[in-house]
């Protein structure tokens, strides 16, 4: 237990957590109405909240909702279908872990794999490129995730990829979806917790226009338990004081301008276009597609992707009852879904939110949240 050189993390002080929880409870009480609803837009935040059991100590009148922050969950079915179709056409596919299990309209990559398609799970695009270099066969990286992983995809493309390598981009951009959620007629959201790692790239300045337009405060937060508690404590203060500003509670990583080099790379390779986020809505500028300059690495332009074979099967009756979209929009929580924990479990997920380790339903199920409140 004496590995010198590795510092213990200092953001896990339970005494400090108790103080922050008390401050949070006090402020929520001062606001004097219930519930006070705030939204975070990051699977990693929900993971940390669930992993450390933070919800058990949140004030009863504070509703902390996970929004559309799971990159796996908001990847739309037709995007999964494209990857499945390519895999069935005999093209090797590499992608991030959970994407393999996400159902498209007829099948998942795991189904295609069980039928003989070649699907590799990778931890980075660099690993996918290394696999592609081992042979001459066509190789497609199914790129998913927000600006955090999109930047890695952009940097790899700029650095040069082998001729047999192309990218099927399902990358998404978070800021536009916050606008949509804030404008939803049923939205109860009074403040946002923004994801610290995404803001490391975009900078916290990206939220200033949003705050002005919607009069809703935004607090940028890190991922340790103390980061999250401190951010929530500050956010409810801003709500109490009717102060719509952006506050950076993750200054050890995030600046106002962000990572300018990464932003330049991101926009050099990708163009924002409108597109559907699974279960939520059409999000203007929410999808990242490869610019024309990069057509030669764009799987959509290099291959003719035949989706017709996948359109035979209608979505199952169960899938039609899935409320993943409402959950990601913050209108419902998993225990309000009739399928949750019954027909829909991680073994046999109906919706994408139960597939991904960053999906609200999966996190609630894995960490037993609903079982306790039931």
């Amino acid at each position: 237990m004496s590995d010198a050189g590795v510092l213990e993390l200092k953001f896990r002080d339970t005494a400090r957590a108790a103080q922050l929880s008390a401050a949070l409870a006090r402020t929520v009480q001062e606001i004097g109405r219930a519930p006070v609803s705030v939204m975070h837009v990051c699977g990693s935040h929900e993971q940390a909240i669930a992993r450390f059991g933070l919800r058990t100590n949140f004030p009863r009148d504070l509703d902390v909702i996970m929004g559309p922050g799971c990159p796996v969950c908001i990847t739309d079915q037709p995007e999964v279908d494209e990857a499945v179709a390519l895999a069935r056409q005999g093209i090797r596919i590499a992608t991030y872990g959970d994407m393999v299990r996400v159902p498209g309209s007829a099948a998942s990559l795991a189904d295609a794999q069980a039928d003989g398609a070649r699907v590799d799970v990778v931890y980075s695009i660099d690993q996918a490129i290394a696999l592609a270099r081992e042979s001459d066969e066509p190789f497609v990286f199914f790129g998913t995730g927000f600006e955090t992983t999109a930047v890695a995809t952009a940097a790899a493309i700029l650095a040069g990829v082998p001729p047999n390598f192309s990218v099927l981009s399902a990358h998404k951009y978070i800021p536009p979806v916050m606008e949509i959620v804030a404008e939803m007629p049923d939205s109860r959201i009074e403040g946002f917790v923004a994801a610290g790692h995404a803001a490391t790239i975009t900078g916290w300045g990206v939220f200033e226009a949003f705050v002005r337009r919607h009069g809703i405060p935004v607090v940028v937060a890190g991922f340790e338990p103390l980061d999250i508690l401190a951010a929530l404590a500050r956010l409810v203060e801003l709500i109490r004081d009717r102060q719509a500003t952006v506050e950076n509670m993750f200054p050890r990583c995030v600046t106002r301008a962000g990572n300018v080099v990464a932003q330049r790379q991101l926009w050099e390779v990708f163009a924002p276009i409108g597109g559907r986020w699974r279960g939520i809505a059409h999000i203007p500028n929410g999808n990242l597609r490869l610019r024309d300059d990069w057509a030669h690495v764009d799987a959509r332009r290099r291959f003719s992707i035949d989706l017709h074979a996948l359109w035979d099967s209608a979505p199952s009756l169960l899938a039609q009852q899935c409320v993943c979209g409402d959950i990601m929009s913050g209108l419902k929580n998993p225990s309000e879904c009739a399928l949750f924990g019954a027909e829909c479990i991680p073994d046999s997920p109906v919706g994408a939110c139960m597939v991904s380790s960053e999906g609200t339903c999966r996190i609630w199920h894995e960490y037993g949240i609903a079982r306790r409140s039931a």
């Binding site: 237990m1 590995d3 050189g5 590795v6 510092l7 993390l9 896990r12 339970t14 957590a17 990051c42 699977g43 990693s44 993971q47 669930a50 992993r51 450390f52 059991g53 933070l54 919800r55 058990t56 100590n57 990159p71 796996v72 991030y96 872990g97 959970d98 159902p103 007829a106 099948a107 998942s108 795991a110 189904d111 069980a114 799970v121 931890y123 690993q127 998913t144 995730g145 927000f146 992983t149 790692h197 995404a198 338990p225 199952s316 899938a319 027909e343 991680p346 073994d347 046999s348 997920p349 109906v350 380790s357 960053e358 199920h365 894995e366 960490y367 037993g368 949240i369 079982r371 306790r372």
Partner: protein
């Protein structure tokens, strides 16, 4: 029919990952109503033998890469079977069999090295390979090498994984997550600046020391291999009909393993171990057991990590210091998160 049911009709990697899916496959396909020693689904079969009990177990070993920091498939295949015997109370393995399935083209030099590891591990455990079998398969039909070992031992008193009672303390014999994290780092070429080493080791000497010191007070044992401590605790709690409360701050985790696990978004409780045991102990005997463990090289970091309660039989409650949560039974392979 949902898509998921269609998928579930074929064997997937999760059916071998040591979690919920594997348990269900064994129950539904292999046991399928069968009774007898196998139905207990313990670490080994218990066969009455005079006043004592014969313990018989088998384990097939596949691992990529075959050689990893801290060990190789040879060490693993001996330790796996010796430990399964030890967990049932048979700490003197009478002998092991060893079946090897080798891929055409495999280097004989590598095979000799693995054979040397098998011999060293057997010497460490005080046993020997007493019978063997070799098969060669065509290139591509098997990934390098598969080793199956079976072992037999005698237990004067059988310790099951189902014997926990409310009030019992749960002890882990050392740091958790070392094996799985070392293998994952070697497999994917992750470098974290600090070396990670597998804990693979035969534990029969350590367990013998515990049983000699306080045998009557040990109520249950299990080695937390695939699926990690979480999976083993679930099996023990479920079979014993008790709830278990774990205090996360008491879990021994090497800083390097914790840092790597944090980076990859993986809970150390879910990571495989190959040289650790979970031991249920009557509350009065905790001190003696800890002392016996800590005076053995494999048990220096042993710690009490939780206790058994009557409430919520079959569930594991984790106190994180920031709140509480249920620790779910793992399923499928461990996959690092996207962001």
């Amino acid at each position: 029919m949902t898509m998921a049911t269609v998928t579930a009709q074929k064997i997937a990697m999760k059916h071998g990952a040591g979690g919920r899916s594997m348990r269900r496959l064994i129950e539904k396909v292999f046991l399928n109503g069968m009774t007898g020693p196998a139905a207990a689904m313990d670490d080994g079969a218990v066969i009455p033998f005079g006043e004592q009990f014969l313990i018989f177990t088998t384990d097939s070993h596949v691992i990529h890469p075959l050689v990893f920091p801290g060990g190789d498939i040879g060490w693993l295949s001996v330790a796996g079977t010796v430990n399964d015997l030890a967990m049932m109370g048979a700490t003197e393995p009478l002998g092991l069999t060893c079946g090897m399935v080798v891929e055409e083209g495999f280097s004989i030099e590598d095979l000799s090295r693995i054979q040397n590891s098998i011999r060293a591990a057997c010497a460490d455990a005080g046993t020997a390979i007493v019978a063997g079998d070799t098969k060669v398969m065509r290139r591509g039909e098997v990934d390098g090498l598969i080793i199956n070992t079976s072992g037999i031992g005698i237990a004067p008193r059988v310790v099951r994984d189902s014997g926990l009672r409310p009030g019992d303390q749960i002890i882990v014999t050392g740091t958790i997550g070392d094996h799985g994290m070392a293998v994952m780092a070697a497999r994917h070429g992750f470098a974290f600046g600090v070396p990670l080493r597998s804990d693979v080791a035969p534990l029969n000497g350590l367990i013998r020391a515990v049983l000699d010191a306080a045998g009557g007070s040990v109520t249950a044992m299990k080695d937390p291999t695939r699926g990690g401590v979480a999976s083993a605790l679930h099996e023990m709690a479920g079979k014993s009909g008790v709830g278990i409360v774990i205090d996360e701050s008491l879990l021994p985790v090497r800083p390097a393993v914790r840092a790597a696990a944090d980076v990859l978004g993986i809970d150390p409780l879910l990571i495989a171990n190959e040289g650790k045991a979970l031991i249920g102990v009557e509350p009065g005997a905790t001190g003696i057991v800890l002392e016996a463990l800590r005076s053995h090289p494999h048990g220096r970091d042993a710690a009490v990590i939780g206790r058994c309660v009557e409430e919520s039989p079959g569930s594991i409650l984790l106190d994180t210091g920031f709140g509480q949560r249920l620790l779910s039974e793992p399923d499928g392979e461990l996959l690092p998160r996207i962001c």
